[in-house]
Symmetry: C2
């Protein structure tokens, strides 16, 4: 197996072109000088968790945020680093592959070499197993040639996803010590970054000098918070899926006799489904977060679809496209229990694919087929009763996921992943850390039902349902219109969190300047009174709105 | 329903760009002057069928082939047409939608207007039902604006696919007479073009002056013969599917624990699967034509896959991608019968999608799941017995078809479809007409197991199987590398059939010039002797090789 890693391979003409693409670095990361401003320590998102988290992360919690500054930035107390010692860094793919993963390696390699040509980057072969067994491949420019801007994780491979048990963390520690690593970079999603946070704490406790860095690379888009606005891979996945959903929309509109029930990979939360809806405008989407918030049963959902089918038939429309996030099933407890039982019974059946392991379970539950069946049964009933007068209901079911995961990464993901190596130490400060059966873990971010992306969906949902405003973004392009398109949800959401934190600090500084010793009694009184009520208001809001902070 | 046809719609940036693309016409179709050379009448491919075909098509069989000539061509007896009267033409989408269909309408519209601005093009709304009911939409440049180079059939829609019963052909006749049509253009696949051929004969018999024209637009790529080298839509479908297959390959190689069983839409024959294999190099493909030729049972096929899995595991490869054409099931009679029975039994089951109608049956049979199950069972058995020592076998099943059909058409399909309107009267001369339960029908072309495309596959099959030479052509591009790529099978197959017919005629002319009255006895004797044996040889070959001619 290992002999195949890192070998050069033949690229198609498009792959060749892409391999020559040079991602652009943000200004603060260009050049050989690093300018860092250390900000405040961070707070936890839920005040009630702070004790548990403080106990779990005594060495790593509350570190200052590091801001990288562009050359022209005027910050008096910036740390300016012009010479870096040669360092040794290990990097490992953990968890499901996402487009752009290779660029994290490439970007890190270039950054290390730019600062000191003697620095070394070691790739662990075969995921965390390679880390435990110390199987490495030294990354060189030659090795990277046919992997730059390419999809998959096949440069290094990945297998098991966990670094959790005592045996595993000890093996990881031993590997870092044996290989004299200054840093260990873990590329992965929510689970892997939780592991990274715990590993960092474990290393600090063990006085191991290896810094652990988690890089949020996941197609689910659920590793979001105030500091991490997007995940590597999400943009590509949503574009590839939107292309396919749009094709199904065009197909539905041409044939005028099918309803497509399309289930989308994306784990528990519905970020992928929401983004794809905003990109391709199918008739309907049912978000897991909506189902949970409204406590809908499977029959509620099915009835909702049936009513939509009936309303559309009233306008002579006997086709449609409905998106179903794979995670929706977890939001309907009674169905989740039922399906588990059915799957058990059918495991010996002929046509049902057996589950491979626990983690694959969600993608194996064919919710779209169950819903299509329930809707068909109900529409046939309504047809007989005469309440529904449209064509016989016809569903075609799809599951989109695996076929998008291996895609060539979009320009956005190429650029984002390439610049990603600088997000250091973020995992333990990410804010959304919380408890989960005794062990604090990063919670995957939900779709924020109060957020702007969801608001955009709600504003258009009726029109999407009835008017077939299908939008076809087309296949992923690397040139011309659409090539530089960003995710809709990324564009509409409030993103400048850190900018606003800065603005607030400016206000506070201004007040401090105005109210210096020597100012008039009136000014001081006014300031005291106003600030007392400001503090009051914020304290009240903070304690009541914590639940909504997670995805702010 | 009808009110929505032809309405302008909002296009995505990429769609907008594409709508401004102007396909290029071949030189012979440029300008306002038409130069036509009428060639020989055609022969039928199977001599034994000639009587039946002659009886079915007394008015339309054996018409001369029309060659369109470029301005610079020197052909003394070319018909040169510089002025065309204004004409009225109807056009209808029949059969399953294929990318590029809209461009046939656009191309025809432009051609009509270039030759006479007063000509009229009427689109029938809702397929053949619209034809029978005379529901039309006059095509204008305004209407075409947002449909140029776009996928789907939604400009006019399509419903039922048949023009066959007495009632139907009479309704079609009445529509053409009532609407005073000079031509009726039927856009469709094998079935629709068979209908077109019969309709042309019926019209000629009825002394209706409407000319019937069939245009081969089908994603299956099975409407091929000496005169029709490719079908509109096939290029796009293969590119979109190849993108997805390649993504699955990358995914397999990254995760190293899955076997993907991917079934491809394409009807009875395996053109799509062959082309996708040549584009994306998955580990294995099982063509229906191979199965039929070798009389393989489902267990033979399953064993073949198991042996491959075992051989790969011997090289530490526990992943792979296997393509399965949907039509393979028809090549295994015992399984076809079995599955029909199982489907009947399971129709009341919870998770199996019921068949919508006879024509959808093939796409509803989940052959990939059956094969994955058989392979899994066998591999588990071998694992227990110790003959197989790899990882536990894990399959993920996919069906790719619907999600490709509605795609934006590739540049090739845009250009080809736009120029297509000139393929007149081809259907009844297409050569592969043959009998089918009393009614002559166009046979879908099989993959030619003696052809160059298949040879290319055989040459590489072992390497593809063992060496993971996955090739990722990437998403469909409209600019840069890959944008002008043609189907591999189209490039490697002998395509210049008409060119070679011309070359032969030149040889015959040369012999005639050399052996004119006045030539020497020796020359005449030599010529006679040689031509006698040439005639002999060709007669022998002709009567023995007819079976292989269909896809030549």
């Amino acid at each position: 197996m290992d002999s195949d890693f890192g070998i050069p391979r033949e690229l198609s003409p498009l792959q060749q072109l892409r391999s020559q693409y040079q991602p652009e670095l943000p200004p603060c990361l260009q050049g050989t000088t690093v300018r860092v401003e250390l900000g405040d320590g961070t707070t936890v998102s839920e005040a009630s968790d702070s004790h548990i988290i403080a106990r779990a992360f005594p060495h790593t919690l509350g570190q200052p945020l590091a801001h990288f500054l562009r050359e022209t930035a005027k910050v008096s107390d910036a740390h300016i680093i012009t010479q870096l010692p040669s360092i040794r860094v290990g990097i490992v793919f953990c968890g499901r592959q996402a487009p752009g993963g290779h660029n994290v390696i490439w970007g890190l390699y270039e950054a290390l070499k730019v600062h000191n040509a003697k620095s070394t980057l070691l790739g662990f072969l075969g995921g965390s197993e390679g880390l435990f067994a110390q199987k490495t491949l030294e990354i060189t420019d030659d090795i990277l040639q046919t992997y730059k801007n390419q999809g998959g994780y096949d440069l290094l491979g990945r297998t098991k996803d966990q670094i959790r048990t005592t045996e595993q963390v000890n093996a990881a520690l031993k590997a870092c010590i044996d290989l004299k690593l200054d840093g260990l970079v873990i590329i992965g999603g929510v689970t892997s970054n939780t592991d990274a946070a715990h590993l960092a704490e474990f290393f600090a406790e063990a006085k191991c000098s290896t810094k652990v860095v988690g890089v949020p690379v996941t197609t689910n888009g659920d590793l979001k918070n105030q500091f991490v606005e997007a995940n590597v891979g999400f943009d590509t996945i949503c574009k590839v899926n939107s292309q396919l959903i749009s094709n199904a929309c065009t197909d539905a509109l041409s044939a005028e006799k099918y309803y497509y029930f399309i289930r989308l990979m994306g784990r528990k939360h519905s970020h992928v489904a929401l983004e794809c809806t905003l990109q391709s405008h199918p008739n309907m989407v049912i978000l897991g977060e909506e189902v949970a918030a409204s406590k809908l049963t499977i029959f509620d959902i099915s009835k909702q679809i049936c009513d939509a089918v009936q309303a559309r038939a009233g306008q002579d429309k006997n086709h449609g496209v409905i998106l179903i996030p794979e995670g929706i099933i977890e939001s309907i407890p009674e169905v989740y229990a039922l399906l588990k039982e059915i799957h058990g019974l059918l495991r010996e059946g002929l046509l049902l694919h057996p589950e491979s392991d626990d983690s694959a379970q969600l993608s194996q539950i064919e919710t779209e087929k169950l819903l299509a069946y329930l809707v068909e049964t109900e529409m046939n009933k309504r047809l007989k009763e005469g309440t529904y007068k449209g064509k016989k209901f016809n569903a075609i079911c799809h599951f989109f996921g695996y076929q998008a995961r291996g895609s060539l990464p979009s320009k956005f993901d190429c650029d984002y992943a390439y610049a990603m190596m600088t997000v250091k130490n973020w995992s333990q400060n990410a804010g959304s850390t919380s408890t989960s059966i005794g062990r604090p873990a990063i919670h995957p971010a939900m779709v924020d039902l109060k957020g702007k992306a969801y608001e955009l969906l709600r504003q258009n949902a009726d029109k999407f349902l009835m008017e077939d405003l299908y939008r076809n973004p087309g296949p992923l392009q690397y040139d011309g219109p659409g090539a530089d398109a960003k995710a809709v949800s990324l564009c509409v959401e409030d993103q400048d969190y850190m900018g606003r934190i800065k603005k607030l600090q400016e206000y506070l500084d201004q007040v401090r300047t105005i109210v210096k010793p020597g100012c008039s009694q009136d000014v001081l009184k006014a300031a005291l009174s106003v600030m007392a009520s400001v503090t009051d208001v914020l304290t009240t809001i903070s304690s009541s709105s914590n639940g909504g902070q997670q995805t702010a």
